[in-house]
């Protein structure tokens, strides 16, 4: 039986382990960019989700694999689905049938349809092959519009399936076993065309298979000679879909001629392209009722021009109707149709111009009023509405992707909204302090170095000069007082970046795979203060950032890439100081941040785990742990050799055969430990095993379904601790984290207990291990109080190598977790939280370390001494209580990486999660003990006012009474 006060303490301890977010803190302490990814041209469209309503929504399947709907008037996301559960590298298909309340999409092996308004699934069907194209059958024998999906099965057969749009069932299937490469599918009113490439890579010919819409039976097969112009599937630019007269078009390698074939015919027509054409795009309407017109957009190195062609429905003859002049910039064209009319919208650097497909006359034009003058549109989709009554009145909404990876909506020339979709696909992120004002530092330095009189005069002058800011400061006082009372944020003075006393005001630097760098002001709701295109990354490849380092003193950021590339830019403005383009070959596996005699430096690690020779002032002081070609882990130390130093392998750790490293974790760069021991309830101390040179390697064996976790000493390569878990699903997330004297590892396990109870278990779990210097309390182990020790030097104790004593415990989780990270605070006094992303519920959870405590008593209540220590009874399950979800209601999608940074105040740790969405917040694992958080200044002032009023009223009364008493008449 517990003493009552202790059980009360225990009861208090339980809820106090979690501190949820207050509703009024939302948007104040956290920020979230709900992103979709950069829209792909072919999978972005306006669509009316309700047949009888005019309002349309903007749909896209982005290059990261998110299908979503955006409200075109506000830019708000209505719904989104991460189709494959992970971030993809582009691809996929999305289409909508006119007047239908659903959107069909396909990615990888599956075809799905979604309710256009709610985003709920209509059907999801997985097939054997890979989807190559998706089309909507606008005209079918019944009311229903169906979905055509083209598959490539193992490269040996082409399969076209017509799927019922209601439930995804197969209406008919056309299968052809051949080595032909299926390319696209297209259909008109009566026929379905499957276009594939036949032949060898040297000279492909186009094969058009004509199918019957009702049965899927082959009607005809036409082979069109390309004269060796087509070498890959990318050379065929366009297959018109659903238009009254679908076409297929390709160019020769030098872009001199455009070849067009009207599908279903045998002959092709050639059109000359202007000199200097670099690339060609074709835009055509997708509707059956639209006029069969198409636009050829040809880009040169500096500008772009276009020509509009008409197809004669009877003769299938293609004629050039008119040409649009050459304008500078890449430019973007988009097609929109209303009834039979087809409109082309041209977005240039300065203007938005609307044409009809019938004639070259400009219908309307607007000057673009975009704030960002640097970016220009790359591709766009438009919606043209002809205003009723007014002659020639048009309203255009154009959603364009810019060169800076932003998605902007231009409404009649004016910028309606901008979505920073380029922030998706973040590959590296870091926090940076806001650089201090250099001018003040400089003048102070100047004063220090001159004679006292001159310094004094300089100082007085400086102060007089500072009086300029006095009126502005006085002006700002009322707003500051009001905002301080109301608890709103004080806007930083005229948009200038300045540090705050709490240390919440920092910059977050984000590098994306598309070669963009972003600087976010996390003290100001994560506002983007600069975005910079560092490299032009070709479609299909990505910028592989190996390391990012902030040089606080110099106010610079250094980013290293894997292809021998680097970029140096200013922290405050994002201005590029120095950069080197990525080379064609992969040259580095990673980059190590090391201490050298000339400060902290990023050192690239070669693919085979070796490091090039370095000058002696750049020689790292630490051992660098690298991965060899064979998966072995190596420790590289630098040996001075005159003026340079070369890396030599100090130790090598080869994993047992069959094992592969799945997760590697090191202690965070800022891992301050406030106390070297843990005081137990009985006033004894267990000393923590605090070795800064440790690394956790989790190795999985796929065939045996085992996971082995090794803790290695990075100086000697010695295994300090290892544990093996059986029945681990090596295909699911396995992740580890290491901090202070403990490590956590999370995985999916399915096994039977070995304790003879024959009980089995299945589910996600986390194993936490605490490391101590000795098994006993009040014992510092073999090393004792020695100030220094070396893991390389001989140890004259009979026990040999100093190995930590470990205490472990496993917990079952309510779901999978990934992107493990541990909170960091300035002095390490606050308790810690393990931050993890919940990939299924799209949230970030902060599990208190108090719950993940291996010393929790099992099968009994804690003794008073244990309760005093804060230990609570062991429960095998950790359900993700919504109260510990630090991202609360927000739907944070696709987080790959969580980073933390200490604030100036000890209680708080700054958190940034990136990957697909960007989310940032502050967490206080031991509560905000050093900040008066949530203090109601209003009620304080109200109380003071009420007391003042009371005193003002009662004061005269009391005074009067006292005087009366003194002057009372004698009786």
């Amino acid at each position: 039986m517990l003493p009552p006060q202790l059980s009360a303490l225990l009861l208090l301890a339980l809820p106090s382990a979690v501190r949820a977010v207050f509703k009024d803190e939302v948007g104040h302490i956290d920020y979230h960019y709900e992103l979709l990814g950069v829209p792909q041209q072919e999978t972005t469209f306006f669509h009316r989700p309700r047949r009888d309503e005019k309002a349309s929504l903007l749909y896209t399947l982005s290059d990261v694999g998110v299908l979503g709907a955006v409200n075109p008037s506000s830019g708000a996301v209505l719904w989104r689905q991460l189709l494959n559960g992970t971030i993809t590298e582009g691809g996929g298909f999305a289409r909508a049938g006119k007047g239908e309340g659903w959107v069909a999409s396909a990615l990888g092996q599956s075809v799905h349809a979604w309710d256009a308004i709610t985003g709920r699934n209509r059907f999801w069907t997985d097939f054997g092959g890979e989807v190559k194209d998706l089309e909507i059958m606008e005209m079918t024998e019944n009311e229903r519009k169906d979905v055509l999906a083209l598959f490539d099965e193992d490269g040996s057969s082409t399969v076209l399936r017509r799927l019922n749009a209601n439930d995804g069932s197969v209406v008919w299937e056309f299968r052809e076993t051949s080595k032909d490469i299926p390319l696209q599918v297209s259909n008109n009113v009566g026929k379905v065309f499957v276009i594939s490439l036949r032949g060898t890579p040297a000279a492909y010919n186009l094969k058009v298979t004509v199918l019957d819409t009702l049965t899927g039976k082959r009607l005809d097969e036409i082979v069109i000679g390309t004269k060796g112009d087509v070498h890959s599937k990318d050379d065929v630019m366009f297959v018109g879909a659903n238009s009254a007269a679908p076409i297929v078009a390709w160019t020769d390698a030098s872009h001199r001629q455009l070849h067009v074939n009207a599908l279903g015919t045998k002959n092709r027509q050639d059109f000359a392209l202007a000199d200097g054409t670099v690339s060609v795009e074709i835009h055509a309407p997708h509707l059956v009722q639209s006029q069969p017109h198409f636009l050829v957009h040809s880009k040169t190195a500096t500008g772009n021009r276009a020509a509009v062609y008409h197809v004669d429905l009877k003769t299938n003859a293609i004629t050039k109707a008119y040409e649009l002049p050459l304008l500078p910039g890449p430019g973007a064209f988009s097609t929109s149709s209303s009834g039979a009319n087809v409109y082309f919208t041209r977005v240039t650097e300065r203007e938005l111009i609307l044409f009809s497909s019938a004639s070259h006359g400009v219908l309307t034009r607007w000057t673009l009023e975009t704030k960002d003058s640097k970016a220009s549109a790359v591709h766009a989709v438009s919606e043209v509405v002809k205003k009723a009554g007014t002659e020639g009145g048009f309203a255009i909404r154009s959603a364009a992707v810019t060169t800076n990876d932003d998605w902007v909506l231009i409404r009649n020339g004016a910028l309606a909204w901008t979505r920073p979709e380029g922030m998706t696909g973040a590959v590296a992120a870091t926090f940076a302090e806001i650089p201090e004002n250099e001018e003040l530092a400089k003048s102070l330095e100047q004063e220090a170095h001159s004679n006292p009189l001159a310094a004094y005069i300089h100082r007085v002058k400086r102060h007089i000069a500072d009086l300029v800011y006095l009126p502005a400061y006085l002006n700002s006082i009322p707003t500051r007082i009001i905002s301080s009372v109301l608890g709103t944020d004080v806007p930083s003075a005229d948009g200038k970046l300045a540090r705050d006393s709490f240390g919440f005001h920092k910059l977050a630097i984000l590098a994306t795979r598309r070669g963009m760098l972003y600087g976010l002001d996390i003290g100001n709701s994560g506002k983007i203060i600069w975005s910079e295109r560092v490299f032009e990354i070709a479609k299909g490849s990505k910028w592989n950032v190996t390391g990012i380092q902030v040089q606080e003193d110099a106010g610079r950021i250094v980013v290293l890439g894997s292809n021998n590339d680097h970029v140096v830019l200013k922290t405050e403005t994002g201005e590029i100081i120095d950069s080197k383009l990525p080379g064609p070959e992969l040259a580095a596996q990673s980059a190590a941040l090391v201490d050298t005699s000339s400060g902290a430096r990023l050192i690239p690690v070669g693919l085979d785990g070796t490091i090039r020779d370095l000058p002696s002032n750049e020689t790292p002081k630490q051992t660098i742990v690298t991965r060899g070609l064979g998966g072995e882990i190596k420790g590289v130390v630098f040996v001075a050799n005159g003026t340079s130093a070369h890396g030599s392998t100090a130790w090598e750790f080869s994993l047992p055969s069959g094992q592969r490293a799945v997760s590697v974790a090191t202690r965070p760069s800022h891992d301050v430990v406030a106390s070297i021991g843990r005081v137990l309830g009985d006033r004894t101390v267990r000393y923590k095993y605090l070795n800064p040179n440790t690394v956790v390697v989790a190795a999985a064996d796929d065939s045996a379904s085992t996971l082995t976790v090794y803790l290695l000493d990075t100086v000697s390569g010695q295994i300090l601790f290892s544990s093996k878990h059986e029945g681990v699903d090596t295909g699911k997330h396995i992740e580890c984290a290491l901090a202070e004297n403990w490590l956590v590892c999370s995985f999916f396990g399915q096994y039977t207990f070995k304790d003879g109870s024959a009980q089995s278990y299945k589910g996600y779990q986390v194993v936490v291990s605490d490391l101590y210097e000795s098994d006993e309390a009040n014992d510092r182990g073999p090393l004792g109080d020695a100030a220094y020790s070396s893991s390389l030097g001989p140890i004259d104790t009979p026990t040999g190598v100093v190995l930590p004593s470990a205490v472990s415990q496993s917990f079952i989780l309510g779901g999978p977790i990934s992107a493990l990270q541990v909170t960091q605070t300035r002095q390490g006094i606050s308790s810690r939280q393990v931050l993890a992303y919940l990939p299924e519920t799209h949230g970030i959870v902060g599990i208190p370390r108090m719950i993940l405590e291996p010393r929790r008593p099992v099968g009994r209540d804690p003794t008073p001494a244990e309760a005093e220590e804060g230990l609570i009874r062991y429960t095998p399950v950790i359900e993700f209580d919504p109260k510990i979800v630090i991202s609360h209601e927000r739907d944070v999608l696709g987080v790959q990486n969580i980073i933390t940074s200490p604030a100036t105040v000890e209680s708080t740790s700054l958190v940034l999660a990136c990957g697909l969405d960007v989310f940032g917040t502050r967490v206080a694992p031991s509560f905000l003990f050093d900040i008066l958080g949530g203090f109601s200044k209003g009620s304080l002032i109200g109380t003071v006012l009420a007391i003042t009023a009371g005193v003002a009223v009662l004061g005269p009364m009391v005074r009067k009474k006292q005087i009366n008493m003194r002057w009372k008449a004698p009786m």
Partner: protein, 282 residues
């Protein structure tokens, strides 16, 4: 009933350096089921259904990100999004014993165990059976069987509440404070008593005053508060008389002394009351 999933890992104390290469101690458990029978290529579909219940009257409000997952060792990722009909459909499920979770941002759902088995002896299609399962308990410790035909019903556990309530300013809660209550009561007595005494019947009042005089508590109270009970105190001090060089007791005017004694007699605890009393008398 809770299981101890503790895996006590013996940190390899006392291991020789040579032997320390790879010693993995403390194995938690062993793999129980062999990897799913890959030979069995038969597949079926599993349908989950979210019914309307008192905790979730309208399943139509669930966000489109709601989905279910099917997990088992080596089964890969199987995820089913929520359909417009409030169902979650897994196509192509092979035989096995699966843990089914429904993930939703707004509501919590009970986990299920779904077994896909081929019927005994029969070579027909696969049969789907479902039970509730309890995390942290034996996998074979199945809950109530959930009927699988027509879609397995998933049980809603409740709505997720992510936020903490901030304690609000509440006048009533302040009034409930015992200290405030005490103060209020004494204030009532302080203000109301003189009026009560004033409004008394003269006879009754005289009687009351008489009783007050004889009340032994009065003297103690008066002494404690520095008021004159029987003995003279500071409160009895007549400043005017003192300044005039006369003593109230000795040769002062009778009225002054009478007033003083009357004040003392009425057994007032405070001078304010006395003043009130006297003023009224006047």
């Amino acid at each position: 009933m809770h299981l101890n999933l503790a895996s006590l890992l013996g940190g390899g104390r006392g291991l020789g350096q040579a032997a320390a290469l790879l010693i993995a101690l403390a194995v938690t458990a062993t793999a129980s089921t062999s990897p799913q029978q890959h030979l069995q290529r038969q597949q079926t579909s599993v349908t989950l259904r979210i019914p309307a219940s008192h905790l979730l009257p309208n399943p139509g409000v669930l966000p489109p990100s709601t989905h279910a997952t099917l997990s088992a060792l080596g089964a890969g990722r199987a995820s089913a999004p929520l359909t417009a009909a409030n169902t979650l459909v897994f196509g192509n499920v092979s035989a096995g014993s699966y843990l089914v979770d429904v993930h939703c941002a707004t509501h919590a759902f009970a986990p299920l165990r779904v077994d896909v088995v081929s019927p005994d002896g029969g070579d027909g299609g696969l049969v789907v059976r479902a039970w509730e399962t309890f995390r942290g308990n034996d996998w074979d410790n199945k809950g109530e069987a959930v009927p699988a035909d027509g879609g397995i019903e998933v049980r809603v556990l409740g709505q997720k509440n992510y936020f903490m309530e901030r304690s609000k300013f509440n006048a009533f809660s302040i009034l409930k404070n015992p200290m405030i209550l005490l103060g209020l009561v004494s204030m009532c007595i302080f203000i109301g008593m003189p009026y009560l005494v004033d409004n008394m019947d003269p006879e009754m009042r005289a009687e009351w005053e008489e009783r007050q005089k004889t009340n032994p508590m009065n003297g103690i109270m008066g002494a404690a508060t520095g008021q004159p009970g029987a003995s003279s105190g500071v409160g009895n001090f007549d400043m005017a008389a003192f300044l005039a060089g006369t003593s109230a007791k000795k040769g002062g005017s009778d009225g002054g002394a009478a007033a003083a004694s009357s004040a003392a007699d009425s057994g007032k605890a405070t001078s304010g009351k006395g003043g009130e009393n006297n003023r009224k008398k006047r």
